[in-house]
Structure formats: C-alpha cells, structure tokens
Amino acid sequence: MQKNMKKGIIKIVIVVLVFILAKFLIREGIIGAYTERIIITVGINIILALSLNLIIGYTGQLALGHAAFMAVGAYVSAIFTTKLNLPFVPAIILGAVAGGAAGFLIGWPILRLKGDYLAICTLGFGEIVKVLIQNIEYVGAARGFSGIKLFTTFGWIFLFTVLAYILIKRVVNSVYGRDMRAVSQDEIAAEAMGVNAFRAKLLGFIIGCAMAAFAGGLYAHYLMFIDPVSFDFNKSTEILTFVVLGGIGSTSGSVAGAVILTVLPEALRGFGDFIKTYRMLIYSIMIVILMIFRPQGIMGNRELSLQNLMKKGNTFNIKGGEKDGIA
C-alpha cells in the first residue's frame, strides 16, 4: 500500500511544481498572451486526443464522428452559461453528461456493427449532428453562437488536462480498461472469458464521447464563438491525426501527438509560406508513410511514464498494457 502511496505523492508534487512554474512565467510575461493561447489549445487537443484514443486505441472501434460530440458539449455548455447563467464548471459538466448521453444514444445501435460500417455510421452521425445544429435557430444555426462568456483560463485547462490524463490512465489500468482491450483484440475469445463485449465497447464509447464534450465546453468558453462548420469531418480527422501520429493505444502517445501537431504549425508560423500553404498536403503524406512504416505511431503501445523511469530498465519497456496501478 505505502509503495503506491509514495509514488502517488511524487507525481502530485511534480505536477504542482510545473503549475507554479508556469503561473510564474505568465505573470512575468515570459509566456505572453499568444503562447498562453497556444497552451490552452494544446490542453483542449490533449483531452480530445485522449478521449478518441480510448475509443480507437483501447476499445478498437474506429469512430469518425468525434467532433460531433465535441459540438454537443460546446453548445450545451454554452446554452447553460450564456442563456441560463449557470456557473462555468457545472455547465461544462452538464455538457459532458449530454455528450455521454449522445454517445449512449448513437452507441447503442451502432456498436453492433463492425469495422468499416461502424466508421461510416459514426461519420454519418457527425454530419447529422452538424445539419441539426444548422437548423436550430435558438443557437444561431449557421450564423454561429456568439457572445459566450470567457471562462477557460490557463489554470482551468492545466487542471482539467491533468485530471483527464489521470482519468484515462485509471480507466485503462482497471478491469474496465482490460475488458476493452480484450474485446478489441478478439471479441469472441473475450466473450468466452466472461467479458460482456457490447457493454465494454459501449462504456469506452460513452466515456470517450463525454470527455470530447467536456473538451468542447472548454473550447466554447475559450473562443467565445462556435459555429456548426468548425465541428465537421475535418475536425474529426484532425483529432484522428493526433491519435494516429502519437500511437494508437498509447495514452502518452496521444498527448505527444496532440502537443506536436498543435505547437508545430504555430512554431512554423514565422517561417516561409511553403510550409503554411502546403501544411495539409505534408500531413497527409506523413500519415500515409507513417501507416506503412510505423503503423503504431511514434510511441507505439509503449508508455513513457514516471513509473517506468523510476524502475530499472529502459524508459520505453515494451509491454502490452500499463503495468503500474497508478496514473
């Protein structure tokens, strides 16, 4: 018991230290408003990548409509704060609950399907949500929902990103995470070993959708304006590239993918037009090459975590799931 406790405390101390350091840098203006905005975007993208990775990486279900759940969370939380004047945190939690409910609603029928059909149906669902929002005048339809109060600050983002990471690690390292992975490996064998495959898939899907909705809430209260078009298929593909580049089925991989693909374009903003204009072309070529030579992405299914560092042996020891019981 104590060994786990000791490691837990070390991790908490490190996290708090990093937070204080960042806060100090901001107050001193070393991290300016522009970089702060990038860090907030990185935080939101990390939560999105983690949530999609739970569905694609761990539960093995290729869901292509992830931006739709982000939209549900964004719009529901925006309605609560702007129209009903609810405080920030309850509003985004309600947004996440709505996202989870939408996940259940669409997951229940669709998760009986396999592979390609599931992918296209989730994609179809994404388009349906976009069209529905475009027809709801209450939220401004195609003209977008503006005048949302600014709540998302660096502090909230830091807290929620760390919480999201811990939540995913704990779900993945629990009985539920193992059931999900077993189902993604061989559904029939998992059922023979007493795992209710459908329930495991549905649970992974609901948690993933709720988290995406939560990220949507943070996004809405940071940008203060949301419109249906920004949650279309391109947004879903963007989140997919974070997970794919980082490594399908690796939690720290998703974090790495989200950080790199968010910071890179901003860091390159200064350099020549070539990269800027052909950015999407470079990304697509990169993915094709990646899928052929390194389908597991940068991190593969390895985990870079403090746990491995403390242990003897290499940082990237290759093993199936996360061994450490703690985040």
């Binding site: 203006g29 522009y34 910071v263 940082t315």
Partner: protein
C-alpha cells in the same frame, strides 16, 4: 543506478525542450517590459515604422478572397508610404493566415498584438472569423477594421474597438428589397440560400424581412447545404410558384450553377443577389443564364468616378494586370480608413485612434464613409447588372 539517472536526465531534458519551444516561439519579442499591450504601442511608435496587422484567409476554403484582400491592403500601404507614410513614418503591414476558421482568427490576432506589437488590425475578411476576433482586439485595446464582414454581430459584440468598411447585411438586404420593389416592380420573390453558410443565410433573412415589410410577398423559401450541386428539386418547387424574381444569396460559383439549372428548368424570373456574386468567374460558370441579373456590390468595377479608375489602374499595375474585385477594393478602403484615422489622431495611442475612427469623414474607392454610433459605415450600396456577359454599373442606393 547509472541507467536510471540517465533516463531521468533524458526526461527532464525533453520537458525543458518542449517548454522552451513553446516559450521560445511565443516570447521572442514579448520579453519587453512585460507591460500591457497598449502601453507597448508607445514603445513601438518611437521605432522607425508603424506596424499594422492584417488577418486574411490565405489557405482554407476561400483562398481567392484572401489573395484579393492581401493585394488590397498591400496596395493601400504602398500608396500611403509613397506619399510620406503616416505621422512621418513608413507603415509596415504584417499578414497572418486565419485559414477562414473561427478558431484560428483570434489566435493569430493575439499573435499580431502580443508579438508584432501592431497598432491596429485589418480584417478579418469573413464574418465568422471577425466575430471571435473582435473581443480580443477590444480586450487588448487595439483598433480593428474589417473590410468585408457584413454580419451585424461583428461590431455589436466586437466591442468599441471594432469598426468595418462595408455595409451590414440588414442594409444590403433592405437595399436589394427596395431595389426589387421600386426599380424592378417585382411583387413576388423566391429565395434560395445556403443554410450552412452564415453570410448566405444572413443576407437571405435580411432581404426577406425588408421585402415583406415593403408589402411584397416571398412565395418560396428554399435552401441547400455546402457542397451540393443538384438544385433541381428546389428549383422545380420555385418554378411552380412562378415568382417575379429569384434571390440567390451565395458566392459566385454556386450562383452560376443554380442560374444555369434554373434556366434549363424554364424559370424566367429575374435573378437577384448580393456582394458574394462579385467575381469575374460568375459569368464563366453561369454563362448566358446570368444575362440581365442584378446584384448589390461594394463597388462597381466599371464605375467612372475618378477614385475607382485610379484604384483599378494602380491595382492592375501593381499586380500584373489582375482586375480588382470588391474584396480588393474594400480591403484597400479599410486600410485607408485606419491609416487616415492614425494620421488625424496624431498618435498611435489606441483611444485617440478610435476617436479619430469614429469621426471618419473620408472619400474612399467604395464611396463616402462616415460611421454611425455602432461603428458601421453609412455608405451607399451599388447595384450592378450583367449586360452581354459583363458586369455593368446600374444604380446606387443611398442609405436612408
């Protein structure tokens, strides 16, 4: 033990690298005295140039508009610098690409303000980017002039630092409605718009509101979503109603397609539209179906007024013979309005520049500009028509 130590060092190394990368690309210019942005503008003023930021959609789904806007801004700054610049200093314009995405516009605006220390921002081109950008400029007390965003929310929700150089949807809708009723004597209208596009839907609603208020009737209201190319279903319903005019409030490429299908289906109504039609490609896609159509626009390319002719010539000269479209003209005007305000204010201090902007009284390419209390310009709308395959000036609708 050594092995573990090496690994810890590696992790700490990568952490600092990532932090460094982030702070590096962010703070290079920011390590000024950490003061708020507006005070920083004084510091910049002492420098040799006045920096103005411009947010344009260079990539994304409408790069053509971005290019016109960039050329318009550049031409205005070059002309201004040619005759002595502003407050005796040369003007330097810094372009940033918002990819026509609402999430990108505020980030690049923040970059221009925090990193490049601009004294004013031109843009964004489309309303959906200007709306989220407005509050950022107001928070940082940096004046913003959008050339072509017609959605009312841009100034209403943008805050006191947000201005625009073009008329707003309600005015354009009203102008079109009155023009249809008085000039064309049309009593019944059908409206076909892209319900997935904020500009198209906004203008359509504005038109319908004014048209019904003026006592005429909208006999058919049909819509479609982006990317669609078959409009026969909607057009057949419209043909059934046999309206006097068919109003299409979308961009030139879709309008050309609809017009062709409408004529093939045998719809004889006159076609009416908004500033989205303003492009040389309208006729190349629409062909002779566009003949005799009317559309409101910021500026008529064949207008004979001296300001327009000079602008067109210098534009063609600067950009190897390219023809200036409405987006280029309005971007040029927006830049002129901002620079003129800085000149009148005598300083780059934003409060004074905003005061100067509010009291703008300037002749620009798209007509005479003065601002009302919600910082929208009181400007005429120009109606053009397509006569034997070319856009021709028809009339001007003065604001009430």
């Amino acid at each position: 033990m050594k092995n573990r130590l090496k690994k810890v060092v590696a992790l700490v190394g990568t952490m600092t690298l990532v932090m460094g990368m982030m702070t590096g690309c962010g703070s290079a210019a920011e390590t000024a005295t950490g003061t708020t942005a507006s005070a920083a503008t004084e510091a910049a003023a002492e420098g040799e140039t006045i920096k103005i930021g411009a947010v344009v959609p260079l990539t994304g789904d409408v790069p053509a508009l971005g290019e016109s806007a960039k050329n318009g801004y550049q031409l205005a700054v070059d002309t201004m610098n040619a005759n002595g610049g502003v407050l005796g200093k040369q003007v330097e314009i810094i372009f940033e690409d918002d990819e026509n995405q609402p999430s990108k516009a505020p980030t690049v605006a923040q970059k221009l303000i925090a990193q490049d220390k601009v004294v004013g921002i031109l843009g964004a081109t489309n309303s959906k980017c200007s709306i989220p950008m407005g509050p950022i400029c107001t928070q940082n007390k940096i004046p913003m002039v959008s050339p072509t965003s017609t959605n009312t929310k841009v100034t209403v929700e943008g805050g006191d630092y947000v201005f625009r150089a073009c008329f707003i949807d309600p005015f354009q809708g009203e102008a079109l409605a009155n023009f249809a009723k008085d000039e064309l004597g049309a009593q019944t209208a059908a409206v076909l718009y892209n319900m997935a596009d904020d500009y198209s839907k906004g203008l359509a609603e504005a038109f319908m509101e004014s048209y019904t208020a003026a006592g005429c009737s909208v006999v058919a209201e049909e819509s479609y979503s982006t990317g669609e190319s078959d409009f026969n279903a909607q057009l057949t319903n419209i043909k059934n109603e046999n309206p006097d005019i068919l109003v299409m409030t979308d961009f030139y490429s879709t309008v050309g397609l609809i017009a062709k299908q409408a004529r093939t289906l045998g719809i004889e109504a006159t076609f009416l539209g908004g500033d989205g039609w303003d492009s040389t490609d309208l006729v190349s896609i629409g062909g002779d179906a566009m003949e005799g159509a009317y559309y409101s626009v910021f500026y008529a390319s064949d207008d004979t007024s001296e300001a327009v002719v000079n602008f067109k010539n210098s534009y063609a000269e600067a950009f190897d013979g390219k023809e200036a479209d409405g987006y280029a003209a309005l971007s040029y005007d927006a830049a002129m309005i901002l620079m003129n305000a800085i000149e009148n204010a005598g300083t780059t201090d934003s409060e004074k520049v905003v005061e100067a902007l509010n009291s703008t009284d300037l002749d620009v390419v798209s007509g005479h500009v003065t601002y009302d209390e919600s910082r929208n310009p009181i400007k005429p709308a120009i109606i053009c028509t397509i006569k034997d395959g070319k856009a021709a000036y028809y009339t001007t609708v003065e604001p009430k």
